[in-house]
Amino acid sequence: MIKGIIIVNNHGKPRLVKFYHPVESEQLQQSVIRRVFTQVSSRPDSFCNYLEGIVPEWGENVKLIYRHYATLYFVFAVDAQESDLGILDLIQVFVEALDKCFENVCELDLIFHSDRVHYVLDEIVMGGMVLETNISAILQSIKDQGKMATESLSKTDDSQSASKIREQLGDSKWMYSW
């Protein structure tokens, strides 16, 4: 399972932190982030994307799998059950989803729209498990959420029928034929 996800910039400022394997206090969480950052940031990009650094808070045998995009490190901490390359792919999916969502995502988007980043991540990883990898499905969910949110904000607009939303949430769309 995925023990935790940390997005941290080149200077060690965390931009998104998600612990699926609970780490008790804020203090410990901060020390995990620092530890992860110092280990990852000292590696040039020509090195492989795996690091068997030990993060004691998550127990031994935790592998850090990370990718470095411009100013940000995307670090996933996983145990032995996950596929090493699969997680790299997943990071790519996450980044592509963010990219589509924000149109050329940059660090500032993550800072000012942390809510949306969380929503996107929740559509991809749930409780440490891979939920969805289909980028269009992820984006659709986000769009629907946004739509529903705006609708519920504007008091007047209740003409929208649920069936329409359901259609947009769309189960029929991704059916495939055997």
């Binding site: 390359l85 809510d115 649920a162």
Partner: protein, 980 residues
């Protein structure tokens, strides 16, 4: 984003503009105070749930988001939960959404509102809300999704676990949309991970099959995650689902049937493929067992073709992402081949080997890393060693890679592929590389080199040299376990000149003024033990040895000094000329601040006056060989570092050919030594063994000028057996030869016993001057009655025992103190020819005769067992099962239990024996003595027999309040087990 509040944006901007941590802290504190104020409405009533109902939706969301943001920054947020809950309860989607997100981030398990949160979640999960989104209310599936998401994200909480049946229901419900199903599957997995018993495989397997037929790839991926999680916990229950998994895999790989959206860089859903392959890895036996089942045959054939297609068709592509995805699947396929082992098709194994060989030489670091990782797994299979060895040079290149992750993998692979043929080369390479290696990897390297050198040393001198090199290159990383192991191995291999070689080498190593402290420690210990072997060599005399060791004294720490002190004592004992050198050191150390050093030197200094020279010799003798433990401390360390299932650990546990050979040698040597010792012991035993049938018969009053006939040698084995039997049975024959038979009947009540001894004349002539002399004992009050004259211990005394008649002796005894031997009885008589016979016998009155069984509760037993731990209260000895016993089985253990209960008169404590391989018992040793209060003095005794069926041995441990009792019970138990 329009839904985001202006105030939040401003707050974040403020924080970003903060110039220092203090400034940020100040801003956060101000905001927290503000939010707290808003939440505790001034002058107005709070709502029932503790939230402030005067807040409007917009500001509530805004403040909750601010709390979340502050939390993510690392500040403690311990209020506002009521507001979060109010958002969750809301019927508006936007509020619910914010509420749930905040919930999963801020919630702690001990939250007092847990119950009410739970009810809200349950409601969202089960109530069928409006199907149309009137009044902005969220539709059922969105509410369900949110609820599921938060269940999965708030983890490890007992209360949340109670929701599993609702989740399971949601997962299977026809009305659930794919989106909800996906989430429900993962949510259930999350719950099952924390408490595995929530889902029973037998019932769930049918539902799982239904899920696997879903047409939605997203649902399938989640379901496979769930299935994989469940099957890891209990593989056999989900075995029937293999055909489904193979079918899906076939569609994805062979037919490329995949919805366009699920193609990831043109690869059909790699995640689903990975999950399927991982699931199949749980069943390493399917290829060999599949034949029995016709239904599975087909799917297995399909599986093999799928795997070979993955193997042959994967190419390195230009796009790194495409290549990643393809290789992810490929590596899982190789892992699957590894789990099949030799039951899998050979050409698949070869194909995998070839691919891996290619991977470990590519430049792309990820693929190389994974290639090395996977090859180490493959290397565990039989028959792969030769093909892997071809890549040795390539792997050595990776050992010098700049990237530590790659280096670690290379080291691991080298470790796994090492065997007797290439050990020297690999170890030498590793040692050479150790000089350049950075600190992060050194400890691991040192440990692995030490294990390899020990495992594959055909010449143990090479092993010693290697460890010495390790100490000189990287002494700080040579743990105590490693040098202790050197001592152990050198001590246990007296053959050849290993001990002398080690002593000489270490002396040279310790000669320079500067050398690593660990080297000083090993040298000190080894020279203390084996220094005498080289003392004749030039420059290595005892004095020289002392001088070389002592030059390090000033720079040594307390541990090293303690070892040095012991070594000095040994040197002083051996070489006269060392004594004046050592004495001042001891004198100074008597005032050492370190207790250990102080005690050692004081004791060593006083030893010569306090004990006889022989005792001193004995004390300072070489250490006996170490017990050969199955698992060395080094393997233990490796296991701690790498976990149970790593390839390296599996490798370390398997003994190598060299190790086996060494073991055989030392076993043979041990056997030879044992035989010699046994011979000596047999003679010794006859005199010294406290529970031997023969007492150390001093001729006593017997006339010295007349030849005396003793116990004939050939009856001794039979006597030994008879005596041991009698210790645990009420009557029997103690001694028998052609002239005389001595029978014994004995019974005991508490501290008192009644022993009848019968002397029967078996010869054809009367036995004259027949006397039985029982010496008085300190620990027994004995009253004797016997046939007229029998007890008269003068030369002319004694009775005459006519042909075919008996003389009788009745003893009434009362025990007054613990003891561990058996009273001696000399039987003296003359034959008609005037031949004087004197048999020094022992009566089978042993400590266990006075036992009274005690039945103890397991708890009480364990408590007493622990409280009696300690050196003089415990006795322990290992005994081999008699050679005629075929195997130690449960039947045999029943006999052992009977010995303890009937023979030793112990009460069995069943509750303490979870397996049939132990027997525990308790008893009281009764004495007739009174304590100050006039109560009889009793001694509580505990015994435990542990069997090791593989080794054919038993370990007997006794713990009692009195050292003699412990010893006595152990001795009786040992001889009884030997006879069982």
């Amino acid at each position: 984003m329009s839904s985001q509040a202006r105030g939040l944006q401003n707050f974040i901007s403020d924080l970003r503009n903060a110039k220092s941590k203090e400034e940020e802290q100040k801003r956060v504190d101000k905001e927290l105070a503000n939010i707290r104020k808003k939440f505790t409405a001034t002058g107005k009533q709070l709502a029932e749930d503790g939230s402030n109902n005067s807040l409007n939706s917009y500001s509530r969301k805004k403040y909750v988001w601010k709390l979340v943001y502050i939390h993510v920054l690392g500040y403690d947020v311990d209020f506002g939960h009521a507001e979060v809950l109010a958002l969750v309860r809301s019927t508006k989607y936007s509020e619910k959404h914010v509420g749930y997100t905040a919930l999963s981030l801020l919630l702690r398990g001990d939250d007092p509102m847990m119950n009410s949160i739970l009810n809200t979640i349950r409601k969202d999960l089960t109530t069928l809300g409006p199907t149309s989104a009137k009044n902005n209310a969220p539709t059922t599936d969105t509410a369900q999704s949110l609820a599921l998401c938060s269940i999965a994200n708030i983890t490890g909480l007992e209360l949340i676990q109670t929701l599993h049946s609702e989740v399971q229901h949601t997962l299977m419900a026809k009305s659930s949309t794919p989106c909800v199903k996906k989430k429900a599957a993962l949510c259930l997995l999350r719950l099952v991970r924390t408490s595995p018993k929530l889902v029973s495989g037998k019932e769930f397997v049918a539902q799982m099959a239904q899920l696997l037929q879903d047409k939605h790839l997203g649902v399938l991926t989640s379901s496979m995650s769930l299935l994989y999680g469940l099957a890891t916990q209990n593989p056999s229950e989900y075995q029937s689902l293999i055909p489904y998994a193979v079918h899906i895999l076939g569609l994805l790989v062979l037919k490329k049937a995949c919805a366009r959206e699920y193609l990831y860089y043109r690869t059909p859903s790699p995640w689903l493929q990975i999950k399927l392959l991982k699931f199949l890895q749980l069943y390493p036996q399917i290829l060999s067992t599949g034949q029995e089942n016709d239904g599975q045959d087909q799917s297995i054939a399909q599986l093999v073709s799928v795997v070979s297609k993955i193997l042959t068709e994967t190419d390195v592509s230009d796009s790194i992402n495409k290549s990643n995805a393809d290789h992810a699947v490929l590596f899982e396929a190789v892992n699957l081949i590894v789990t099949w082992g030799s039951s899998g098709p050979a050409q698949l194994r070869e194909g995998a080997m070839k691919l891996l060989g290619k991977f470990i030489s590519v430049r792309e670091p990820n693929i190389r890393y994974l290639g090395l990782l996977t090859m180490a797994k493959l290397a565990q299979l039989e028959g792969t060693a030769d093909s892997i060895k071809k890549h040795q040079a390539t792997v050595l290149v990776s050992l010098k890679d700049a990237d530590i992750s790659v280096r670690r993998r290379a080291l691991d692979l080298l470790f796994v592929m090492c065997d007797t043929d290439n050990a020297e080369r690999i170890v030498d390479e590793l040692v050479a590389h150790l000089v350049l290696a950075d600190a992060a990897i050194r400890e691991e390297m040192v440990l692995k080199i030490a294990i390899l050198a020990e495992k594959y040393a055909t010449d143990l001198r090479w092993y010693v040299d290697t460890i010495l090199k390790l100490i000189s290159i990287s002494g700080d990383h040579v743990s105590d376990a490693i040098w202790h192991r050197v001592v152990q191995i050198v001590t246990n291999h007296p053959q050849g000149d290993l001990q002398a070689y080690t002593a000489a080498t270490l002396l040279v190593a310790a000669s320079p003024r500067r050398c690593h402290e660990t080297a000083v420690r090993v040298a000190a210990y080894v020279l203390g033990e084996f220094g005498f072997l080289v003392a004749e060599r030039p420059g290595m005399s005892g004095e020289e040895q002392f001088r070389i060791l002592h030059q390090h004294w000033a720079t040594s720490d307390a541990t090293t000094r303690a070892i040095l002190v012991s070594t000095y004592a040994k040197l002083a004992n051996l070489y006269e000329e060392c004594r004046p050198l050592v004495a001042p050191v001891f004198a100074r150390c008597k005032n050492s601040v370190d207790v250990e050093i102080q005690q050692r030197s004081a004791e060593y200094a006083a030893m010569r006056e306090a004990f006889s020279p022989e005792a001193v010799e004995d004390l300072l003798r070489e250490m006996p060989p170490f017990e050969d433990k199955k698992q060395s401390a080094l393997e233990q360390r490796l296991r701690e570092k790498e976990g149970e299932d790593s390839a390296a650990v599996a490798k370390a546990i398997r003994p190598s050919a060299a190790q086996r050979q060494r073991q055989q040698q030392s076993q043979a040597a041990a056997r030879a030594a044992e035989e010699v010792a046994a011979q000596q012991a047999a003679e010794q035993n006859a005199r010294n063994d406290p529970i031997s049938p023969i007492s150390d018969g001093s001729p006593g009053a017997g006339p010295l000028d007349r030849p005396t006939v003793g116990i004939p040698k050939d009856v001794i084995p039979a006597m030994r057996k008879a005596f041991s039997n009698l210790c645990t049975s009420p009557s029997g024959v103690l001694f028998e030869n052609s002239l005389l038979q001595v029978g014994v009947k004995h019974e005991y009540v508490g501290a008192q016993g009644r022993i009848s001894v019968f002397f029967g004349n078996l010869s054809k002539a009367p036995l004259l001057h027949f006397r039985a002399v029982v010496d008085d004992q300190d620990h027994l009050k004995i009253q004797k009655q016997g046939t007229q004259g029998l007890l008269d211990d003068s030369d002319d005394g004694g009775c005459t025992v006519a042909v075919r008649t008996q003389a009788k002796l009745l003893l009434l005894v009362e025990v007054t103190a613990p003891f561990d031997d058996a009273p001696a009885m000399r039987v003296i008589f003359e034959t008609e020819e005037g031949e004087l016979h004197e048999y020094p016998l022992r009566l089978p009155i042993v400590a266990t005769c006075f036992m009274e069984p005690v039945t103890l509760e397991p708890g009480a037993f364990m408590q007493r067992w622990r409280s009696l731990e300690g050196q003089d209260r415990e006795c322990q000895e290992v005994v081999k099962a008699p050679p005629n016993v075929p195997a130690i089985d449960e039947e045999y253990m029943k006999r052992i239990a009977n010995i303890i209960t009937d023979g030793l008169k112990f009460g069995r404590c069943q509750g303490c024996d979870p397996t049939p391989w132990t027997v525990s018992g308790a008893a009281t040793f009764r004495t007739g003595s009174k304590d100050a209060n006039g109560n009889n003095i009793n001694v509580g005794c505990l015994v435990r027999v542990e069997a090791n069926p593989q080794a054919g041995a038993f370990r007997v441990t006794t713990r009692t309040l009195h050292p003699l009792c412990s010893k006595a019970v152990k001795n009786v138990a040992l001889v009884s087990i030997k006879l069982a």
